[in-house]
């Protein structure tokens, strides 16, 4: 691992991001989340739909302003994209979206779009076809338009385009969920290999835990705007500690042919405009105690009173 002496490649500290719509209550989509990604490291960010994963990713890319907290990329603070030139911290961040159409222009040949990325990086030696080859596509595909590819191929093109800009941090927001199982595993592995090979960090966002398990060194579990558990993937998988992480893992059906229905987690993700007091998970938690309804467990690596670094004052 090529970790710079200055600390982690990406550091998100106590980040708060709000969505404001006139006439509606403020939605605090990210409510004090912390996260780190080192160079050459793959971190998987998982959590239920609406928990704030994409909002966090967009803030890291400078596509969304922050209410408080800090985002540092390579030690430089990220400020939202304004009228001024692209932030210096951001030139090294590239994002691949779930729907490749939102990162690819449907009316331009893919070779030309990859060439844009190469120009950003000031790379005059690499050809667009070289990058297509790296993502496992024939060189001749550079002359094609995005609609001339299958879903899996299009996702590879989007990855090639992102890599062309030589990012130090690659962010994939559900980059594979439109693909079938075997293509998902292939594309996820490809993203991992290419990121690690080039010494970049990868923040891989997905609601598919089995794929995250396959490629992530560390896993961060998000619930209602907060990262509630982080740890090495194998450790979290073998011994999930936060009750929410446990519920998530228990809900994955196993393909063992045994006909066992997965356990259900009752209730929906609460409205982030009106989060529960105390621990945000308490209305759905089978282990909730009195302290959970009153005080927020504001610590890591497991934000749960059952795993407090010091026992809470009795209440």
């Amino acid at each position: 691992m090529t970790m710079p002496l200055t600390g982690p490649l990406l550091s998100v500290e106590d980040l708060v991001v709000e969505h404001r719509t006139p006439g509606r209550p403020v939605v605090r989509a990210v409510a004090g989340a912390s996260l780190r990604v080192a160079a050459g490291e793959v971190v998987g960010l998982v959590g239920e739909s609406g928990c704030g994963k994409s909002t966090l990713a967009r803030a890291v890319c400078g596509l969304h302003g922050t209410a408080s907290g800090r985002i540092l990329v390579g030690g430089h603070p990220v400020t939202p994209l304004g009228l001024r030139r692209r932030d210096r911290a951001l030139t090294g961040v590239q994002m691949v979206f779930q729907d490749p159409y939102s990162s690819l222009n449907p009316r331009r040949r893919v070779g030309a779009q990859i060439a844009d990325g190469l120009r950003t990086a000031g790379d005059t030696a690499t050809q667009p076809a070289d990058l297509l080859e790296r993502v496992g596509l024939p060189r001749a595909f550079a002359d094609r338009f995005p609609h001339e590819f299958s879903g899996g191929q299009r996702q590879r093109v989007a990855i090639a385009r992102a890599l062309a800009a030589r990012p130090s941090l690659l962010i994939g927001d559900e980059p594979i969920s439109a693909l079938d199982a075997s293509a998902q595993a292939q594309v996820a592995r490809l993203m991992r290999d290419l990121a690690v090979e080039s010494g970049a960090g990868l923040l891989f966002i997905s609601h598919d835990l089995s794929v995250v398990r396959l490629i992530a060194d560390r896993i961060a579990v998000m619930y209602l705007g907060k990262v509630v558990e982080t740890g090495p993937t194998a450790e979290v998988w073998a011994d999930p500690r936060h009750p929410y992480t446990r519920a998530l893992l228990a809900a994955i059906p196993s393909p063992d042919g045994a006909g066992v229905l997965p356990a259900e987690l009752p209730g929906d993700v609460p409205d982030p405009a009106d989060p529960p007091a105390g621990c945000r998970f308490h209305p759905r938690c089978p282990l909730a105690m009195d302290v959970c309804r009153e005080r927020e467990p504001d610590f890591g690596p497991v934000a749960c009173w059952l795993h407090a670094p010091e026992p809470p004052a009795s209440s």
Partner: protein
């Protein structure tokens, strides 16, 4: 157990290209039949053929036997009484099944009034009951709301309620949980299994997720390039697959080598 629906030698061509090359499948009342296979293998086309909803300009041959007749040779007008009523479908994206501009109540009752000839009051009562059955909290109140006012998992439950409105005998569910979180998926799978057990519904569950298949399917069929290459009991197909293609699907599962699932 008798066959609720039998597909024999189903061939479908779209624009002169044959995409199904003789599909055989049998659905039984009270059983979930899982249909697996890679994208493009013809799972969705098989479901659409049963409902007579193939894309314009498609040609089909073979037999789809349901209620003593061959649906491929049933006049369009009679088919309308079967489609959506006796045989219902749920899609991957609940917004395909639900109309965004109509209240949930309207979508549920209009169906019943059209197919079952129920009066307004009666239809409303049944609709409330259906929403309760798919476990939508506050069903009475929910009837007045629009689809976008519910979460993704609740929308899929509502889509299932709409599909059940006319007491179908066969339910075709095409990737009904693929777009959902695992926690929400678990609820939908339990719901489907329960409906099948309680109402004796015959379910064709299309999914590429072999974990989902393993959780709810009684029988499993695997499709490849427009053909069913393997059919058998869940345990047999997932544990001792006979066809190399099924083996390769199982081998492609994203589990790190040398590790077992928890």
């Amino acid at each position: 157990m008798s066959a609720a629906l039998t597909i024999e030698g189903l061939r479908v061509s779209i624009g002169g290209r044959e995409v199904l090359h003789g599909v055989d499948l049998t659905l039984e009342a009270g059983r979930v039949h899982g249909l697996a296979g890679e994208s493009g293998s013809g799972k969705t086309m098989t479901g659409l053929a049963v409902l007579g909803l193939l894309p314009h300009g498609s040609e089909s041959s073979g037999r789809i036997e349901f209620g003593g007749r061959d649906l491929l040779r049933t006049p369009e007008r009679e088919l309308d009484a079967v489609r959506g009523a006796k045989i219902a479908m749920v899609f991957q994206d609940p917004s395909t099944s639900l109309h965004p501009m109509l209240t949930v109540g309207r979508q549920l009752t209009e169906h019943m009034r059209h197919h079952l000839g129920l009066g307004r009051r009666e239809a409303r009562e049944r609709a409330t009951g259906l929403l309760a059955k798919v476990r939508i909290p506050g069903p009475e109140e929910a009837l007045k709301r629009y689809p976008h006012q519910f979460s993704g998992g609740m929308r899929q439950r509502i889509a299932i309620a709409v599909a059940l409105a006319c007491e179908p005998e066969v339910l075709i569910a095409d990737e009904p949980t693929t777009a959902l979180d695992v926690t929400v998926q678990a609820g939908i799978l339990r719901l489907l299994r329960g409906l099948c057990d309680d109402l004796g519904l015959a379910v064709l569950l299309v999914t590429h997720d072999l974990g989902v298949m393993s959780a709810v399917a009684d029988e499993v069929s695997v499709m490849k390039d427009g053909l069913v290459v393997e059919t058998g009991a869940r345990g047999q197909v997932l544990r001792e697959p006979r066809h190399p293609y099924t083996r390769s699907l199982l081998d492609a599962l994203p589990v790190p080598p040398g590790e077992n699932s928890p």
